[in-house]
């Protein structure tokens, strides 16, 4: 298993946001995490990236115990996150945002990866000298994904990449996620758009008020009556 989460709990002050989380993501898998507003999806990803402390349990990545490891070292190990709300370095140029994505890599070919990102998202090349803050929501989402990929992650965490985007752009983002999976990138995808996420996922977890309440193959969850009713609006 590339990522193994055991008995994870996390708190905001006295409020418990996660409790007894058990999640596993294997090399090359696309695993979806779905759940309602406030279920704790973002908190779980923040714990994996190390920007939110775990109050109990353990997180293992590629065999290393990373539960207490600082965030910057986790990036060096190969964990990258596309955070909720895109989180641009707004006044910095698009290209600087991308180069900072490769901050933890040294020497090896950053230029080639830049070219690869521009190939994947041509609009970013057109806008490369503009401040990231001037891009549209969809363009910023592409930049956020490309910035995370610049670290050549072994595990890509995506937090609601389709949020707030027009349907056409949502389709484009999901296409990009699918393409990354096909290239062999391991992906842990958080989505409120449960249908689209489970449709492309190998496996899925359902999170409710801080706990995993179901986990199964993506297709099986899509067919599950309770999931259909609660998350797919069917």
């Amino acid at each position: 298993m590339l990522l193994e989460i055991q008995g994870l709990a996390s708190h905001y002050g006295r409020i418990q946001a996660l409790d007894g989380i058990e999640v596993r993501v294997g090399e090359g898998e696309l695993v979806a995490l779905v759940g309602a507003n406030g279920a704790g999806k973002t908190t779980l990803l923040r714990c994996v990236s190390g920007v939110q402390p775990a109050t109990a349990g353990a997180i293992r990545f590629d065999g290393h115990d990373i539960t207490r490891m600082p965030a910057d070292r986790r990036v060096a190990l190969g964990i990258a996150q596309v955070p909720e709300g895109r989180q641009m370095f707004g006044p910095l140029s698009v290209e600087d945002n991308l180069r900072l994505g490769a901050y933890r890599r040294h020497g090896d070919d950053v230029e080639a990866d830049l070219a690869r990102m521009y190939g994947m998202f041509p609009i970013l090349r057109q806008k490369k000298d503009l401040p990231a803050g001037t891009l549209s929501g969809g363009q910023q989402q592409m930049l956020a994904i490309a910035r995370a990929l610049m670290s050549r992650p072994r595990l890509l965490l995506l937090d609601e990449p389709s949020m707030g985007l027009a349907p056409l752009l949502v389709a484009e983002i999901f296409k990009a996620v699918q393409a990354l999976k096909d290239e062999g990138t391991t992906i842990f995808l958080v989505e409120q758009n449960a249908y689209a996420a489970l449709a492309i996922a190998d496996r899925g977890y359902v999170l409710e008020t801080g706990s995993v309440v179901m986990s199964d193959q993506g297709a099986a969850l899509l067919a599950d009556e309770r999931v259909k009713e609660a998350y797919l609006g069917l």
Partner: protein, 291 residues
Amino acid sequence: MFAEFLQYVFAGLTSGAIYALAGLGFAIIYNASHVINFAQGEFIMIGGMSTATMVAAGIPLPVAAAAAVLVTMLVGVALEKFAVEPAKGADVTAIVIITIGASIFLRGAAQVVWDKEFHALPAFSGETPIAVLGATLMPQSVWVVGVSMAVIALLWWFFNRTLFGKAMLATSFNRLAAQLVGIGVKKVLMVSFALSAMLGAVGGIVVTPITFTNYEAGIMLGLKGFSAAVLGGLGNGLGAIVGGLVVGIAEALASGYLSSAYKDAIAFVIILLVLFFMPSGLFGKKGTDRV
């Protein structure tokens, strides 16, 4: 008439350059941590005092100056490591108060290491005034302005052309995103204190031949640097530079045309006016190019 005006402007630019450096010091630390470091003035004092002592002991000026900058940077790093970092998680106001405490401590330490006397440093290239359009310009003023400009250019290069400099800017724009791309925000904080200490020290060294220095010299210079930073819009590098020059020239004109009794009041008047009428300063929060 014009010569007199020019004379005041020269004086204003000279002190304004020092305020600009101090203001930049405030801005850099503010950007990294949202802390206002009230020990900034003490960096100026330590830079000047250490150089004066070493030069008096016969060490050549360039060596003494370099060593003094290094010593001050170490003090800055120690301040971050032992006073600011342990308080992480505390309210920003609490940390600001810690820096006020640190400034008092540093003044006390300076009295112990040195004394309460004024210390002088010879002018770097003589005292022969240069005549400019009827006004006179002291060679040391040229040093002050020239060295300040060189340091500012260096900073500009660092923040706009190096990956680590950009990482520092990135951290100030979005701390969460900075952590998620692997920037060590602790290291950013430490380097911001080192850079601010460097700025203060350089200012203190070049200005000491004009003003002399003693253990309290940092109080006024620090407050004026702070008013420069506030005037420019806290956290805005270009703003701090412009703010420093405005404060310097305003006080030179006020003490020239009104009375020198008003000189030190000007900086405070400026702080108050800015806080009342334009709390985000001349350059607000919108500027995208920060030094």
